[in-house]
Chain length 144, copies 3
């Protein structure tokens, strides 16, 4: 059956969604150390617009902290919405997740506005009842 190929366990799906909600809210609150703790020690964060991925928590913290600082200087608040997550449990116990992610931002001049639409591909590894990110790839959606 077509459907069986995409079926996932309810516990798996709930734990991944709870993970993303908590994780993204940390980012938007500028709590970068706590946010980065949800990457593995050797985790990678790749954005398609940058030539070199951030490798390991220290580099990931450094990069995200620069962004947070720039946003504060410009008085920009951001809200990351991650959704439409398509989960694939892999044989090695990891879960790959392909999600859509929208970034909304709030400025004094424009109020709330959609800033970008992206696809976020994660490799997640188990961490007790939740998950850590081993590898994240974020790609900007572009005109087809």
């Amino acid at each position: 059956m077509t459907g069986d190929k995409i079926a996932v366990d309810a516990d798996l799906r709930a734990s991944v969604e709870q993970f993303y909600a908590h994780h993204m809210q940390l980012l938007d609150a500028g709590r970068i150390e706590e946010w980065a703790a949800f990457f593995t020690e050797d985790g990678t964060f790749t954005v398609d617009s940058h030539p070199v991925p951030a490798r390991g928590r220290q580099e990931i913290v450094a990069g995200a902290s620069r962004t947070v600082e720039q946003l504060r200087e410009q008085s920009i608040a951001r809200r990351h919405w991650l959704g439409m997550s398509d989960l694939t449990p892999e044989d090695d116990g990891t879960t790959t997740v392909r999600s859509y992610a929208l970034v909304f931002q709030i400025t004094e001049a424009d109020g709330p506005a959609l800033r970008s639409s992206t696809i976020c591909e994660d490799v997640l590894v188990r961490d007790g009842g939740s998950w850590l990110i081993r590898a994240r790839l974020v790609r900007q959606d572009r005109a087809a």
Copy 2:
């Protein structure tokens, strides 16, 4: 482990998400009495822009009904999207939920448009297989 601290039960998460979907659709359909029935009798609804919270179902219905009437007079339809819900089960059996909420609105002049980005903090209490809101606080997202 980092992850264990944020893990939640699949039944909990599913029931909360189902609750919000049903609850918000009632609001957008203007079915205010049914929508307000998902607050506890003594529930509170606080919006950061108003000095005094609505207290109890009667006040909550009154306030929401005024808004519905105003929107109808201006031919405005609204769609509330609540998401990125971070759940915390509390020791007293309640669940606190911190979500993002976007309000989209549809007008003849502008079509569909993002109207506001907010953070919604709820204290939920069990009601059989679902939930009632004991306290809701909605805060507009502002420039950082």
Copy 3:
């Protein structure tokens, strides 16, 4: 109790959400044959702006393929976000789902932008651990 009337099983909710994530990503990727395989053989797809519903996979594929072709000619990428899904298990084993759906589109000229806000009503039938669509009705949100 109010809440019991809307409660749904965690497995049900997880399977429906996984289904929609996978299904909508196929559409946005232009993989129309795979996308259409998640309708039943005799499934229907009705859009309120068109007088006649597409009936059966062949017609559904034909209609969606035309849209995909037009979008490619205009270099438009789309992202369908389906959410706020209110599920109702029916006595005959089907599940009816009333969701909000937003369509974002990305063009060279405008970048990412909200294109439409709709309500999507599906009748889903079991297909192993997942679902097939027997009937879909999509209605544009309009000024009230």
